[in-house]
Subunit: 660 residues, 2 copies
Amino acid sequence: MTTDHAHSAPETQSRAHTGGSLAIPVNSESYPRRSCAPSELTITEGFWAQRQHVNATTTLAHCLYWITSLGWIQNFTNVARGTTGAHHGWQFADSEVYKLMEALAWEYGRTANPEANQTFEKLIWVVISAQDPDGYLNTAFGHPNQPPRYSDLSSGHELYCMGHMLQAAVARVRTFGEDDFTAAARKAADHICRTFGPDGNQGFCGHPEIELGLVEFGRAVDEPRYLSQAALFVERRGHRTLPPPALLSSDYFQDDAPVRSKDAWSGHAVRALYLACAATDVAVDTHDHELLEALAGQWHHTVARRTYITGGMGSRHQDEGFGEDWELPTDRAYCETCAGVASLMVSWRLYLATGAVEYVDQLERTLFNVLAGAVNPSGDAFFCANTLFQRSEGHEIDGISLRAESSLRAPWFDVACCPTNLARTIASLNAYVASVDTRPEAPQITLALLIPCDINLSLPAGPAHLSVRTSYPASGRVDIALGQWPAGASLRLRVPAWCSAASISRTGETRSVSPGWVTLRGLESGEKVTLTIDISARISFPDPRVDAARGSVAVERGPLVMCLEGCDVPENGSLDDVVVNPQTLAEDPNGSITIHGSIRHPDAQWRLPYGPKAATDSQPATFRLIPYYTRALRGTSVMRVFLPYEDPTSTKKRGTPCSL
Amino acid sequence: MTTDHAHSAPETQSRAHTGGSLAIPVNSESYPRRSCAPSELTITEGFWAQRQHVNATTTLAHCLYWITSLGWIQNFTNVARGTTGAHHGWQFADSEVYKLMEALAWEYGRTANPEANQTFEKLIWVVISAQDPDGYLNTAFGHPNQPPRYSDLSSGHELYCMGHMLQAAVARVRTFGEDDFTAAARKAADHICRTFGPDGNQGFCGHPEIELGLVEFGRAVDEPRYLSQAALFVERRGHRTLPPPALLSSDYFQDDAPVRSKDAWSGHAVRALYLACAATDVAVDTHDHELLEALAGQWHHTVARRTYITGGMGSRHQDEGFGEDWELPTDRAYCETCAGVASLMVSWRLYLATGAVEYVDQLERTLFNVLAGAVNPSGDAFFCANTLFQRSEGHEIDGISLRAESSLRAPWFDVACCPTNLARTIASLNAYVASVDTRPEAPQITLALLIPCDINLSLPAGPAHLSVRTSYPASGRVDIALGQWPAGASLRLRVPAWCSAASISRTGETRSVSPGWVTLRGLESGEKVTLTIDISARISFPDPRVDAARGSVAVERGPLVMCLEGCDVPENGSLDDVVVNPQTLAEDPNGSITIHGSIRHPDAQWRLPYGPKAATDSQPATFRLIPYYTRALRGTSVMRVFLPYEDPTSTKKRGTPCSL
């Protein structure tokens, strides 16, 4: 990769602005709105422009290096040469190649970077060479010295891998056009429809993903059979027909109950969320309102009761899964990066389907707190799990980590699903910034995320140009300048739910606005609008039913969750012994956030950890907080988001017996 | 099994009262004290006598039924017949047969029940028939259509299984004498010494247990080579030489660091604790004070920071393992029953080695709260995990459960290590009630547990008889009547650490005593002593570093941890919404324990679970608490041990905004 990344869409893209070929991950006319494509929206500067730059110049090459050096490319050439047997990596290693290809395609669609395209094209031949004549494509099954095709649907990940191939093909079609890769994807999709169709194999894949690939590839190449097969897979799941892996139950891979009958997401978080994405797509394209309502209900239940303040999803390491309601341990928060990606994908789809603001609020929370922190600023080290309380410092990780379970990001993981997932998301981030109403009678542009960008749209009512300038989340001021603007088109701006004060200035007048959508009508070409939202640091209390955070508070500033790292605890105090006074939260003009409190000195004498309340000495201290996404950048360190606050009943001095 | 269980030791036992053949699980002259054997101590009535009766009359037969019907006996006959290939159950299924045999042997040693002996003898021939000529004994490896011997030391459990065979042989030698089974055990132990000796295979078993079997079987048959091999296995472990299973690290099976260099127990709890038992035995027999000190330090660290109020150990489901310090989630408490057994074993060994009272305090806590509740009163349903917060009611389990993860005990588990482990522990419980100092110059009997019993000892100084009568833990009064008593012998009684008031009455005088050992000297034959301890219900606060229980209290009464079940929450309130006032804890004369508080009515409106503190309505309520060990006996139910208590800062009325 070079650092050359001109902010212009490639020729193929600019030639084809029809719905099907816009360089966006989700595109169906059944949704009442759609994303803006990179040809329509450029992220011009700031936080996410920098992230996209690093992703393009470092992360893509980093992923390619690891995938190549671990033999995951060679797996394909081994199949092509008939030398199968010693498969490298996990049975789902193919999917990393496809997710990297998807990232490369979106990157090419975003910047026309020729190197991204060249790398993609090299990989096309690697992949295609391994495809069987009937369309089957997998490097771990179905060839000499390998288990037979579809002999382990529970754990084999064959359809999962082909699902990611289809998603890469979606990106390819929409950023380049149809080519040999998309032809291969058609062959694979046709093979799947033949094999798993209504009269075929009644199985499905233990890891949902093929559904998502089929439905969107069907949209991209206008093939309704793929949608039907996706819908069939969605319906087939949930009847306890797939044998669960050892020591796990059907819930693990959402085979415990049909998706339309569930109240909340459960089991393996990434699986549940990929399935929810596909089910949303199916519901929209088949006008299945019951299913869509069920999914919206699941989102609300899950976000209200099974989701971390960071937006992270997944409370359990055991099965990388959701917990029960209110089961949100901070130290064992799993919050897999891929679940963050999947959560963003499902929130966006539900937003596209409903227009409701809470989906975008949650998407922003996840973006800034799970995804932004899951990769380091230089783009070459990653967290798989995104804990809210890092209890042990751990050590530097040079190579492959199990799950980056040390306190530091790791260059690569044993199960390396996250780096390429981040890469494809950041490369396609333009698609989550703004949306356009697809109903010509109600032209509306929605600025979903407060990200500096230039938007140039060709609406049926005429061209619409606007530029957004802001240093958000560093500041809360967002300046919007309209260029040409079609008469009658409205603009929606989002005031985040956490915002306690916001105002809109327009044509010299300023008015307060409440959290939610602010719809501006009667706009004129050349008009300037300023949205100002209060992003000052605030105390957030957890719901009292969240045991793991009871008696503790978090600090947030704008969309950013803050945290306290061990290196910011004075006098070598332990992070376990920090107590804060929420009323002392302070933010100085340069943005530094501090909170006063104390450091307890626990009794050094050995005692059981349960008994009468013991008075402990403590000394006053002040703690500097940093954004959660910037954790673990100053060496190994312990870290916590939720900070115990002073219990007014325990302010005894040493030696004073406690009545309780 | 018949219900006939005469409280007399079998003939073989009464013939041989030398140290080596006492019917106790741990017996080495290197320990300064030893357990009383069933020939010396009879549990006469009450809580544990009833448990022993049910174990003898139901649980043993229940385990035999499941082991037989699942084909785990047939595994042995398949090896004998040369028809191996289709092995039934997990690779460690053999160990369940051995643990059942151990339980049967202890039962025979305790009651001379002939049926227990007959069942044991039938199993002897089953087991021996599968032993290879060189002593190797395993039904899952080393035969036609099976993986080769020792081809998977990490997960194969071959040495683990043989370790349980040796423990069964220990019980056999000490309750019956040497026979064909113990000869087979010698062959197996000799094979292991040959194969894994100093110049042999430098490996060891992923699951510690063989060390424990070797050291005690060596004691039982007076063969020091077995101790040497156990010591070698203990030292060999901890250098990261054994490949960890997928997605786990060396810490999982204690291969991350040598046992003598660790500060606390970590990784898989049962493995860590079995290893600690064996290492304690090795340390004592080899006079390795450094190792013994390391183990005592690990116990103290682990009990103070990684152990639940129930005595339960193991905070993580993922690896059935210890967590980090203060990582003690209530809802995801694993607290495996087998870890409770292993914890009792290691606490008892450290008590025997040091005489320190805290080991017995912890043993009692574990016994009444983990083990007593892990089996139902009828002895035929079990918990594998012993959570402290059952969030979902689940459903009845008729057959095999994964881990009894519903709210109810299950007849059997997929990984069925716990039922036989409970059975052998309850059958040998006499050994944990009292100890005798083995130094003839300081004759001392210690009543470790307050269990009604008759003790008849032949000390070098003469016979010592005492009877203990109490309804503890229902009451706190313990009456001790001495029969014959040798001049100069002292008696130690234990006042538990949680006891706030206790007294000793002796020859008409009553004096207060503090928690710890109370040593009575100058005792005379026929003397009566009464120990009275305050067992009234009390509030226990968790250490403030335990996040999962912050802002919550537990209620304990005597040695019993109490809990609140969903069915005792009035008006269908949710257990999630219970708040208590610790100052209202009350106990009525019939022992019913209640606490007042309220049931919150959370805002029905959808909201994020993090934000400004919200005032909620609540209504007063009174909650009846029950002993934790009696949970889940009234149908499926949610349940919790730690109860959130009122936060004085959140007593706002509905509609009043909270300033903080």
